[in-house]
Subunit: 115 residues, 4 copies
């Protein structure tokens, strides 16, 4: 599978086969996603920024696991809410471009909390 749509269908089948739809309310999925984001933090918490760019194979695999978990829960959550992830990303990029004009944001991190 190499598209969000294909993964969405696969996740639906996975949940249905296990009768897990009952657990997948948007509220619960937001918790599961944030739990995985917490595990992602744990991969990096004691590393310096520099070390975080030069992960060992084992460290990289652990991070890759969390990235996949987050992506899969995100797809599942968007599916449950009938949101199109790409449409929302495009909308958000346009918002961010206006919010952080190049000339005023250049090299400054204190101007933004979002991307």
């Amino acid at each position: 599978m190499n598209s969000i749509d294909e993964l969405k269908i696969a996740m639906r089948s996975f949940a249905e086969a296990r009768d897990w739809d009952q657990f997948h309310s948007p509220k619960n999925l937001s918790m599961a996603l944030a739990g995985e984001a917490g595990e992602l933090l744990e991969c990096f918490q004691w590393l310096t920024e520099e070390q975080s760019s030069k992960l060992s194979e084992k460290q990289l695999l652990a991070v890759a696991d969390e990235i996949a978990d987050i992506q899969l829960y995100l797809i599942r959550l968007a599916d449950k809410l009938e949101l199109d992830i790409f449409a929302e990303c495009n909308r958000k990029i346009a918002v961010n471009a206006e919010k952080y004009p190049i000339d005023k944001s250049k090299g400054k991190s204190d101007k933004y909390t979002d991307i």
Copy 2:
């Protein structure tokens, strides 16, 4: 843009134009992503599970914003670590299928913490 790859390129340009690459270490990006996951939680924290499935237009827009933020940071993080999100998702789905066999997992949430 309607692919992860196109969004990846757009995010790169966005960061480069603002000289923000210096802030985008994997460590920092994991924090930013988890911060957005926290904002996602805030959308749902006082709602019942049922209410979380029937969001108002305003609530849905707030959730859509967070989903987009998480997706964009996830793409940025994977890009920095040279990870292919789809490859990792496919790998993880195979792992999960083995970890949660249908006959043993059916209708049981206590058997799993991942999807």
Copy 3:
């Protein structure tokens, strides 16, 4: 130990004995704390609200572990920043009392995101 101050001193000794002070920047401690908050979420993510009030002994122990971890990191973080947790809590309660006047907040969750 039954005070924040005693725990603060114990945490200092614990870190010093292991030469862990070098890892305990406020940034890193915020990540560790949020990681534990993610583990706390995982205890509750597939439970209904009602079930979350009636935990089994095993479930309660898991939650108690996370509560302790969060408390200990919080004490450590406040210590590093020379903040007095009680002073800040008192200040915040006063702010919240003003922000959420009883007559306007009664029974409404949509008026607040903080306590």
Copy 4:
């Protein structure tokens, strides 16, 4: 108020006066706490570790707010589950002391994910 017990009583009154007990299931409180932990991350996400130790007055106040929010939700959650925060902290410190013996843990962050 300068004890966990006094804050616990204050939080009870605060919630009762606003009829907010109905929202304060352990599940919901875990989400609110993790949401505040996400806001804490946002205070530090673009700072270097060194900068995170030398906060401006404004930055420090923002962090202090989040620390108070986390502490207050933690007290509320422990109260709802009838857990004694100090008892759990003492138990956890003993567990950690055994898990991370000084001679084997000295100066090594890769041996631990907890404190």
